[in-house]
């Protein structure tokens, strides 16, 4: 958090000269953050208040782009899809990632190999794996064909179904992100004091209760990081949808990021796309603000102690 540190810069500057060099080292990053992120965000906000189409324009029209945005059926459906996707994706990834981490934590054979296998999907581009998922989920092919070959007469057509297409995206992205959650939680588990385990064993508490009631709550900083990563992954969901459903069938699995990209490049409406981007930034800030506050609160707490 470069900003949080920069705030203390004037206070530390005269008193502790050795702290200057780390601050200097952070300066380029801070500049990139201020110019690249903050600057671009403000520029986007400005464009969203103008009548820009193919080219950015300086003609301000107030909140008209936002009004148009929320009169657009596809945008509203995209937001709805994002909410459904976000809840299911975060919940499923957390549960699956924790379970994987706890299993790996049981000193299983071939731990390194398993860890690599579980983490591997995260290292691959979704444009490639999404196409494989699309094939796996196509009715008559992939999973359905495999199950039928095994003698089960199942019908699995979620990817071409209006109501279920977005759930296919959930399945594929959970597969991708669960390994990352596993790695972060596992790192946390390995940092837990072995004395706690000894004490719990002496008291005769079953292992699952130790995990659920003692160890996992101790890992809240890891979970905060995981949640932040997953939340941003939700907000920027794009490649999985493009690779798997192209937003279809119809517009059933459209998401806000795809709406924005389409309007930026295909539909020549930079103004409307910027309005969408600003709306998409709001929930991210809403998630980020409490997190940043909790972090700075904890830091002040530590410094006071």
């Amino acid at each position: 958090m470069p900003f949080a540190r920069l705030r203390f810069l004037p206070r530390f500057f005269p008193r502790i000269p050795p702290r200057i060099s780390p601050q200097m080292a952070l300066l380029p990053m801070a500049l990139v953050a201020i110019v690249g992120y903050l600057g671009a965000a403000l520029w986007t906000l400005r464009i969203s208040l103008t009548s820009s189409r193919t080219f950015p324009s300086g003609h301000f029209i107030g909140l008209a782009q936002y009004q148009r945005l929320f009169d657009n059926e596809r945008w509203l459906l995209s937001l709805h899809n994002l909410a459904v996707y976000g809840l299911l994706f975060v919940a499923a990834t957390l549960v699956l990632g924790c379970l994987l981490a706890v299993f790996i934590d049981q000193q299983v054979m071939g731990e390194g190999l398993l860890r690599t296998i579980f983490l591997y999907p995260y290292a691959m581009s979704f444009i490639a794996t999404g196409v494989v998922w699309q094939w796996l989920l196509t009715p008559g092919d992939g999973i359905e064909a495999a199950l039928r070959a095994l003698g089960w007469n199942v019908h699995f057509d979620w990817i071409v179904s209006q109501d279920m297409a977005i759930h296919c995206v959930v399945i594929a992205t959970v597969w991708q992100a669960a390994g990352l959650v596993m790695a972060l939680v596992l790192a946390g588990l390995r940092g837990v004091d072995p004395e706690i385990w000894k004490a719990a064993r002496l008291d005769g508490i079953p292992a699952w209760r130790v995990y659920l009631q003692i160890v996992l709550p101790m890992l809240w900083p890891s979970f905060a990081t995981v949640l932040l990563l997953l939340a941003t992954a939700v907000a920027k969901l794009f490649d999985a949808v493009v690779a798997m459903t192209q937003g279809g069938p119809g517009i059933a699995s459209e998401v806000p990021a795809k709406f924005i990209m389409d309007h930026l490049f295909l539909r020549s409406n930079v103004g409307l796309a910027s309005a969408g981007a600003v709306v998409l930034l709001l929930p991210v800030l809403a998630l980020l603000a409490p997190y940043a506050y909790a972090r700075s609160y904890a830091q002040r707490h530590r410094e006071a102690a």
Partner: protein
């Protein structure tokens, strides 16, 4: 070792200097045009080679920058114009795609060529309406596509006992029922957004007629969109969905054409580019398949095409290259050579099409009737309006959306 490297570098330097000198000489002599386009498939690139050949024949140097995909290609053109490094010329569709670039005063005009050839009389009115802005000509058209042909399989029609081509929307539905009863897929269809849009345009033009088409698509008249006549169009469009096969979602247009070619499906609504598929399969129009421009003798003929635009420049050599390209593209013989391979029609109404196939001749005859041609939706709507309309249509086609809600959504999509 060092000496060898130095000698090599020296030789390389000489070669580079020589090359630069030679190309400098060449550019001083011949107009040099870098042209961005997206004609990358087999037939298309053969067609654009005809234009390049003609340009070279006229004394120019053609530098080909082919970029796969229209969206991609147009994005590159716009980015290069904004970045101050524009190409000499670039392809666009005959549509509102480049109207913003004109408004920003970033395109040059081709007024001299247009006035000399009297494009006002030579080109169909919908095309003129797009490329002539505030009295100036901003693009050189090369071809015209008609988007809403009906292609049908003669053997499939014979098996279903259909004796003649349908003459109205009701007759079309009756024929589709007969095809269904005969165990044939009535409508060959690819469930992709643009195909939904194209099919809707065909229904709007043929069932709604010229007046309703123009008031909805060109004038974006809210009352017309909410009218009972427009509701009938939407219902007929939706009814077509009951004639497609379950595997249609996401299918490509050429796979749908293949169903008609094999006689597994009866009818396809598709642009004239589908003809290339029939030809490639060795089929003959009139014998193996039929081509219809519409259902009634006066149904609107929905056209679009491709143009070259010329980014504005002060450089005299570039201006010369642009002018030569506009002249070349406007030539009858170049347009004929290009369109014979591309499958579309020449933009010039005076082109001699007697050497083209019967479907193309049929199309040209209609094109010359000033009452028939209208633009496709992209000719009248900006890309974002057109996209918003397509979003509603594809949702309506794919879901149980009530027709009243579709009407309301189209009204709000076209309000802005």
């Amino acid at each position: 070792m060092h000496a060898a490297v130095r000698r090599l570098l020296g030789a390389l330097g000489c070669a580079l200097a020589l090359g630069a000198q030679m190309s400098a000489q060449a550019s001083a002599q011949a107009p040099r045009a870098e042209v961005i386009h997206w004609w990358t498939s087999g037939g298309e690139s053969a067609a654009v080679r005809e234009v390049a050949q003609a340009y070279r024949g006229a004394g120019g140097v053609w530098v080909d920058t082919a970029i796969a995909g229209g969206d991609q290609s147009r994005a590159v053109t716009v980015n290069r114009i904004i970045g101050g490094n524009p190409p000499t010329a670039a392809q666009f569709n005959t549509s509102k795609q480049f109207v913003d670039i004109i408004d920003e005063d970033l395109l040059g005009t081709v007024d001299e060529v247009a006035r000399r050839d009297r494009w006002d009389q030579l080109l169909p009115a919908p095309i003129v309406g797009v490329i002539k802005v505030r009295g100036h000509w901003y693009a050189a058209p090369i071809n015209i596509h008609m988007q809403t042909w009906l292609w049908y399989s003669k053997p499939a029609f014979a098996r279903a006992g259909i004796a003649r081509e349908p003459q109205s929307m009701d007759e079309l539905f009756a024929d589709l029922d007969k095809l269904k009863a005969a165990g044939i897929i009535p409508l060959a269809y690819g469930g992709q957004g643009w195909q939904d849009s194209l099919t809707f345009s065909m229904v709007l033009a043929n069932l709604g007629g010229r007046a309703l088409y123009l008031s909805v698509i060109r004038d974006r008249d809210q009352a017309a969109i909410r009218s009972p006549a427009f509701r009938r169009v939407l219902l007929a469009f939706k009814r077509l969905q009951s004639y497609v096969d379950p595997a249609s979602p996401g299918r490509n247009w050429n796979d749908a054409t293949a169903l008609v070619i094999r006689g597994r499906a009866g009818v396809q609504i598709m642009g004239d580019w589908a003809k290339g598929e029939f030809t490639a399969a060795g089929q003959t129009p009139g014998r193996d398949y039929g081509c219809m421009t519409g259902l009634t003798p006066d149904s609107p003929y929905l056209i679009q095409g491709d143009v070259f635009v010329f980014p504005k420049t002060e450089d005299a050599a570039t201006l010369r290259a642009q002018r030569l390209l506009a002249e070349t593209v406007a030539r009858s013989d170049v347009q004929l050579a290009f369109n014979r391979l591309k499958g579309s029609l020449p933009a010039r109404l005076d082109a001699d099409v007697s050497s083209l196939d019967p479907c193309a001749r049929k199309g040209m005859a209609i094109l010359r009737d000033p009452q028939r041609p209208l633009g496709v939706s992209e000719v009248y709507l900006t890309p974002d309006q057109n996209g918003a309309l397509q979003d509603v249509l594809t949702a309506y086609w794919n879901t149980n959306m009530p027709v009243e809600r579709a009407q309301k959504s189209i009204a709000s999509a076209l309000r802005y």
